[in-house]
Amino acid sequence: MLLFKRHRQPGVKGWELKKELGNNFMDLIKVLNSQLERLDLQVKTIFEERELPKKPSEQQLDKARFIITAKSPSSIAETKTSGWRVDDVAALTVTVACIISRQGKMPRREIEEILKDKFPEWKVKSNLDKFMKIGYLRQDENNLLYLDWRSHIEIDQERLLKLILSEGLTAAFAPT
């Protein structure tokens, strides 16, 4: 159930797990997690709320999505074979980082301005549209960009920001 896709999204909702496994499905998820750890995998719970609940209620768990993801970040070699171009990944990184730093939303026009610094306009527009299509971003009627389900599932947002902030320092102290 955790591995199959529903429509375009992978994973399964809490209420579906409860229906199949019973009320104690969270205990089973914990057991599964310990088993998956050996394979460097984990069951990730994505809540509908932006802030993670400290002690999720039954209702919050019902609405949450459960997905199996890689526990450790993938290696660069693996990513090279996954069909992503380096400049596409860079554009996604910039977009996601800027949106997180602006409390989760940012006008599309401003993102485009930043990306146009390094990429041609047509590439910027097609990239943003692509990121929206595959679920990394979503846009509202006021042309504000938000992170969508795939960003919440796949990206360790706190780590991403820390790595960006520390990147300059790493470069400064790197041996010449």
């Binding site: 591995l3 199959f4 896709k5 992978p10 994973g11 995998l41 984990q42 990730k44 997905i67 199996i68 993801t69 890689a70 526990k71 450790s72 970040p73 993938s74 290696s75 660069i76 990513t79 996954s82 380096v86 400049d87 990944v89 860079a90 996604l92 990184t93 910039v94 996601v96 980082a97 800027c98 997180i100 730093s101 602006r102 409390q103 930043i114 610094d117 390094k118 599932i153 796949e154 990206i155 360790d156 947002q157 706190e158 780590r159 991403l160 920001l161 790595l163 960006i164 902030l165 990147e167 300059g168």
Partner: protein, 239 residues
């Protein structure tokens, strides 16, 4: 914004207000101040969280980094999900059963009703005359007659569209609706709507008015099906 100071000002002037408009303005001020407190609290929560970073700092950093460094950062914080794209044995079983029970397409087509022999088309004036819906009287005469009837009926009070077109038979009602549409299009009358009661009124003009320019005119589709006619008819009988 210094909320306390703003509230102090509101409090100081409150005893001087006499008219309700001033008090309403005060209420509006309090509402805006509470909105500011809400936004300030959200801003503080965000700043206090581990995710807070100065947006400008992030923007400067990402502008300074090259594509390769940015990609490496992404990959170091990326946890791709596992997905399986294959059929389950249950789904396969269902599919086989479906295939077995599905009749050949030729048989399925046989069950469908035959298409109507004549295609739908717009009714022309000739067709109405041929079918007897319109008499041999000239159309203009009929129009004048309807206009006069509408003017007479409107003397008592505003005439609703439905009360004007409603007749004893469905066929006659359709005919009246058809002619009424010309009354409006040719500038003998106009339609007025009451958005609250959803009523449509027919207002006759005393003199014929030339149709307004296209850009200022509008269309108002009114559906007249048999069921609606029946309901309207029953409603009139009750009255």
């Amino acid at each position: 914004m210094e909320v306390e100071k703003a509230l102090e000002i509101v409090r100081r002037f409150l005893p001087d207000w006499e008219i309700p408009e001033d008090l309403i303005l005060d209420a509006e001020t309090l509402n805006q101040i509470s909105r500011i407190i809400d936004l300030q609290s959200e801003w503080l929560r965000n700043r206090a969280s581990s995710m807070y970073v100065d947006p400008l700092m992030i923007e400067l950093k990402v502008r300074a980094l090259d594509s390769r460094s940015l990609s490496e950062i992404f990959i170091e914080s990326w946890h791709p999900p596992l997905e399986m794209e294959q059929l389950t044995p249950e789904r396969l079983k269902e599919s086989i059963e479906y295939w077995k029970q599905l009749p050949p397409i030729e048989e399925r087509l046989k069950g469908l009703p035959a298409p109507p022999s004549a295609e739908l088309e717009l009714t022309s004036m000739d067709a109405l005359l041929r079918s007897g819906l319109l008499s041999e009287k000239t159309f203009d005469e009929v129009l004048q007659m309807f206009w006069q009837e509408l003017k007479d009926r409107s003397k008592v009070g505003k005439e609703t569209y439905w009360s004007f077109i409603l007749a004893d038979t469905y066929k006659e009602t359709i005919l009246r609706a058809y002619i009424t549409s010309f009354l409006v299009s040719y500038g003998y009358a106009t339609l007025e709507t009451d958005p609250l009661k959803e009523d449509v009124f027919l207002i006759p003009f005393e003199e014929e008015r030339r149709p307004v320019e296209k850009k200022r005119s509008f269309s108002m589709p009114i559906s007249i099906d048999y069921e609606t006619w029946k309901k309207m008819r029953e409603g009139r009988q009750i009255e």
